[in-house]
């Protein structure tokens, strides 16, 4: 793949004004699918099922089968719409979006077209640098997910060049809400960070509503980023591209930044932007051209005749409105006070998109300081190294368990980091890993004393120094003991014992 020419980001921003639009797909975690009684793999209880085991005739689009709307999915969608500050339509309709693709069992997708369930909202988003944006929401509509294709035999994993493809319909019919922003103007150089912060805010909202697992690496939350540039001072929007397959918070920021630089280089060179979908490549940090997309794409939408309009009562809407959790901005202010974090500490958490993780870890029994330390420290470090999100590596319950093990003295910080690696590798819960890897602190004084006596015996000069009152000399012995214990000892206890034995 030829590498596209990029313009320096600052120069691009000097010459062009970026306009972005974001489409976020949220997989709801209902027990069953959008239109059938099949178990929903976006609910963690059914995650990871064998291919084509979570299916009914409806999921496969078998002749004669009919969809039936999942009432819980409708309630979740209304709650989400309300949390986004949207109007809720007293009557909305499903429509068929017709196109042929083998992951689409009926060769049409049941979606909402001209009558979405929620519309005209806005979300307040706070950036790392303290800037606050109000992102306008055009609509949030309900639809069904498609199945999953695995292309076998090609070098790229794409359909082009593949020998054959496998289809898994487990995901077919998973309930989705697609949230579409209006064009976001005026972000300037903050556009990439805003894109990231917006998706992070959506994630906070759906997690606090409890309507999605919101794990980006599992595709529970997916973002398509539209980017266009216009020369500074121009009112008319430029031609946009839509970058798909952006499945982590940091990728969203990188992808928007990349598209700004790529488009700027083309426009500055006198070229034109092709309206198309582009694929994000996590490994190279670049986008490549997908299929050309024009506004004339003809999906032959028409009202879904197998379903009645969705007509929530005013009472239901009021009830769901009353049950809404506090808005993310207010929640942030409250949590910062409760946790007693400094501005810097709190920003670390927010910018890492880890607010919900920390809150849930605290709720699971950890101290705020410990929760913050593990999420923004070790887990973030590992996540960055693996180019993924910290939230994908461990669950709040696991981190809380780890913090408890440290508090109990079972683990030192150093051992705890090793346990976290195990958690991130999917080896099980912290306690299980401590057990399996034999990582617990050696609290048996007998074993420690034996190691200390060995060390003192092999370093008689040190022993003499300690006896002379040069207590700092004990460090060399402590180091040797910790090494002998493979780090599985509490250094403070070792120090106590060294001094005791040396005086002995």
């Amino acid at each position: 793949m030829a590498r596209a020419a990029l313009m320096d980001f600052d120069e691009a921003l000097e010459r062009f004004d970026p306009v972005i639009g974001l489409e976020v797909h949220v997989e709801l975690n209902t027990t069953t699918k959008m239109f059938s009684s099949a178990p929903n793999p976006a609910n963690s209880a059914f995650h990871g099922a064998e291919p084509n085991t979570l299916i009914t005739p409806v999921c496969l689009g078998l002749p004669g089968s009919l969809p039936v709307v999942n009432g819980t999915a409708v309630r979740y969608s209304i709650s989400l719409g309300l949390a986004l500050g949207c109007e809720i339509a007293p009557s909305s309709r499903f429509a068929r979006k017709n196109y042929f693709y083998p992951d689409l069992a009926k060769n049409y997708q049941i979606s909402q077209y001209d009558e979405p369930i929620a519309f005209d909202g806005s979300v307040e988003v706070e950036l790392e640098n303290g800037r606050t944006f109000t992102v306008p929401i055009e609509r949030a509509h309900m639809e069904e997910d498609a199945g999953k294709l695995t292309h076998v035999g090609g070098s790229t994993g794409r359909i082009q060049g593949a020998e054959y493809s496998l289809v898994d319909y487990n995901r077919a019919g998973v309930p989705l809400v697609e949230i579409v922003t209006r064009p976001i103007e005026g972000a300037g150089a903050d556009a990439p960070a805003l894109a990231r912060a917006y998706v992070s805010t959506i994630r906070d909202i759906v997690l606090s509503l409890g309507i999605s697992e919101a794990r980006m690496e599992r595709g529970n939350l997916r973002c398509d980023a539209n980017v266009s540039l216009r020369p500074r001072g121009e009112q008319k929007y430029g031609t946009r591209t839509e970058t798909k397959n952006v499945n982590s918070m940091r990728s969203i920021e990188r992808a928007v930044r990349y598209e700004i630089q790529r488009q700027a280089a083309i426009l500055a060179g006198g070229g034109t932007i092709t309206q198309e979908t582009r694929h994000w490549h996590e490994d190279t940090g670049t986008t490549s051209a997908g299929r050309p997309k024009s506004d004339a794409d003809d999906y032959r939408y028409f009202p879904e005749p197998d379903l009645l309009p969705v007509e929530p009562t005013a009472e239901l809407i009021d009830e769901l409105r009353a049950a809404l959790p506090e808005p993310p901005a207010a929640r942030r202010r409250r949590l910062k006070g409760e946790w007693g974090f400094t501005d810097l500490e709190f920003q670390d958490v927010v910018n890492g998109g880890l607010l919900v993780e920390v809150a849930e870890t605290v709720a699971a029994g950890a101290s705020p300081a410990a929760a913050r330390k593990w999420w923004t420290g070790e887990l973030t470090r590992v996540a960055n190294a693996r180019e993924t999100d910290a939230a994908s590596l461990a669950s709040p319950a696991q981190v809380a368990e780890l913090a408890a093990l440290v508090d109990e003295g079972v683990l030192t910080d150093r051992l705890a980091r090793q346990v976290l690696e195990g958690v991130a590798a999917g080896e099980g819960s912290p306690r299980e890993i401590v057990e399996a890897r034999g990582l617990a602190v050696v609290s048996d004084d007998g074993a420690l004393i034996a190691a200390i006596d060995d060390a003192l015996a092999s370093q008689p000069d040190v022993l003499a120094k300690i006896r002379d009152g040069k207590v700092q000399a004990a460090g060399a012995v402590i180091g040797a003991v910790m090494k002998a214990m493979q780090g599985k000892a509490d250094a403070a206890r070792v120090r106590e014992l060294v001094l005791e034995r040396a005086q002995g």
């Binding site: 004669g64 493809s165 005749p305």
Partner: protein
């Protein structure tokens, strides 16, 4: 021929209940009849090998003292549009040849739960697209009154099976007249229930907003009994009505037309209709009038546009409903020589698997839904649909039921209209408005046209949810006519045993 096959479903049910006849005997008699005449009629695409087992199961349950419904043990033919476990379900198409579904359509499940014995699957125009059953991928069905003529369509197989005494009763489906028009040309009874009255779950969709499953029989009471079995809310079909239904069989038994206001639709009583069709229609109305009904003329000015609107809405929905036939999950798969991309395989499969009428309608519907044409075609057709509904509302403000001839002509000859789709489409002029408006309709025999000696039907239409009115007026008229004829109209049908030697090789698939 065995007397058992001449019994109505209600009569057979009574004999089964009294123990005079076993279900195995009744089922065997119909299987024998199928073996004897279906080579000539070709009403069946598949005969159920498990029919006798199902019959003996019911006999056992009855012997054990189980309380069974009025149709328990009665054999039934099932239109191939309905999916069935244990029997192929093709909807008359090559693209589903041999496909055995993993589930039963809801009406089929209810029929089985009522103890009825499925005899097999009946022939139909491919995906219910047609008025003659000539568009079946498996060869046409022949009208038992004249084997050179069409049995109507799309449900020609179910109507012919009942008219030829191969089955006492059958299930059909009606999108624009596919139950009522075959009833009209075969001297049988057919009912399209109110839209939402019977679950569509498991009915291979032609046009979702128009399709409705209903009964096919030789008597009005039989249709009512079957209607009572299959009607009712189904949580698997969002468009099915949740309110309970009154007994249709009771409506037949209490049939009384005194004081009933019957509206004759002016726009469907013109010279566009064959003389014998009109004369039998008016004789039937006079008979009802003499028995206390009041006949008034009503006007439904927008019915004129109903056929045009129908032939946009139906193909539009069909083009989408038929998209799933792509070879990926079920049915035929055709791979181009030397292999091909998934797109090429899909195209080759649909090219080979769909017949010309299906392709015509898919192309028409795709066009009608296309951006830039949607408003002019699909959008306008939906507006006409609303106008037709208003015509019905206005008419039913003044009358209890409407009456029309069921179709413009008696059975035409096989092949006669095959090359003239527009002429074929116009067959449905009197039946289509009911589907557009979702109201129920019945067709029952009104006699034979003097000019050709072929059956003629009369159609009654009622407001949505008032299906019982159809059974009331239908039951009353049937009693008066049978009295006049000195027996059921089908007694005048030719004896098919004389045709046995003409049995073709088409046979049973």
């Amino acid at each position: 021929m065995s007397d058992l096959i001449r019994l109505s479903a209600a009569e057979l049910g009574a004999k089964l209940a009294s123990g005079e006849v076993s279900s195995v005997e009744a089922t065997r008699a119909h299987l024998d009849r199928i073996a004897a005449v279906d080579g000539a009629v070709h009403a069946f695409l598949h005969v159920n090998e498990a029919a006798l087992d199902a019959a003996s199961d019911i006999d056992r349950r009855r012997a054990a003292g189980e309380e069974l419904g009025p149709l328990a043990g009665v054999p039934i033919a099932i239109k191939d549009v309905l999916v069935t476990t244990g029997m192929p379900s093709t909807s008359g198409s090559r693209i589903l040849e041999g496909w055995i579904p993993p589930y039963d359509a809801t009406p089929v499940r209810k029929v089985r739960e009522a103890g009825m014995v499925p005899l097999g699957k009946t022939n139909m125009d491919e995906f219910a697209m047609g008025s003659s059953t000539e568009h079946s991928a498996y060869g046409p069905t022949h009208n038992p009154w004249d084997l050179d003529r069409i049995p109507g369509g799309s449900g020609g197989g179910s109507a012919a099976a009942v008219a030829a005494f191969e089955a006492p009763i059958a299930l059909g489906s009606d999108t624009g007249g596919s139950i009522r028009q075959p009833a009209h040309v075969t001297g049988t009874v057919g009912v399209k229930p109110t839209y939402g009255g019977v679950s569509r779950y498991g009915s291979i969709a032609l046009a979702s907003s128009l399709d409705q499953v209903g009964p096919v029989s030789r008597t009005v009471l039989d249709s009512a009994l079957l209607h009572d079995v299959i009607a009712g809310h189904d949580p698997l079909d969002s468009t099915s009505i949740s309110d309970p239904w009154p007994s249709m069989a009771e409506a037949v038994r209490r049939a009384d037309v005194s004081g009933l206001r019957i509206g004759v639709v002016k726009e469907l009583d013109t010279d566009g209709f064959q003389a014998g069709v009109r004369s039998r229609f008016h004789e039937a109305l006079e008979l009802l009038e003499r028995n206390g009904a009041e006949i008034v003329e009503v006007s439904t000015p927008n019915f004129e546009y109903a056929v045009a609107a129908y032939y946009l809405i139906m193909p539009a929905e069909a083009s989408s409903n038929l998209a799933k036939f792509d070879s990926v999950r079920f049915g035929l798969r055709v791979t181009p020589e030397g292999g091909g991309t998934v797109e090429q395989v899909m195209a080759a499969t649909r090219e080979a698997g769909f017949g010309p009428e299906v392709k015509r309608r898919v192309i028409l519907g795709t066009y009608a839904l296309s951006a830039g044409y949607y408003d002019a075609y699909y959008g306008s057709a939906q507006k006409v649909r609303t106008l037709v509904q208003r015509d019905f509302d206005a008419a039913f403000a003044n009358v209890d039921v409407l009456a029309t001839p069921t179709a413009p002509t008696t059975a035409f000859r096989l092949g006669e209209k095959l090359d003239d789709p527009l002429a074929m489409y116009l067959n449905d002029v009197a039946t289509i408005p009911a589907n557009l408006a979702g109201v129920p309709g019945i067709s029952l025999p009104a006699g034979l046209a003097p000019e050709d000696g072929l059956p003629v039907g009369i159609q009654f239409l009622a407001p949505a949810r008032e299906d019982a009115r159809l059974y009331n007026v239908g039951g009353a008229l049937e009693a008066l006519l049978v009295d006049r004829w000195g027996g059921p109209l089908l007694n005048q049908a030719p004896d098919l045993s004389t045709h046995e030697l003409k049995a073709t090789e088409e046979g049973v698939v």
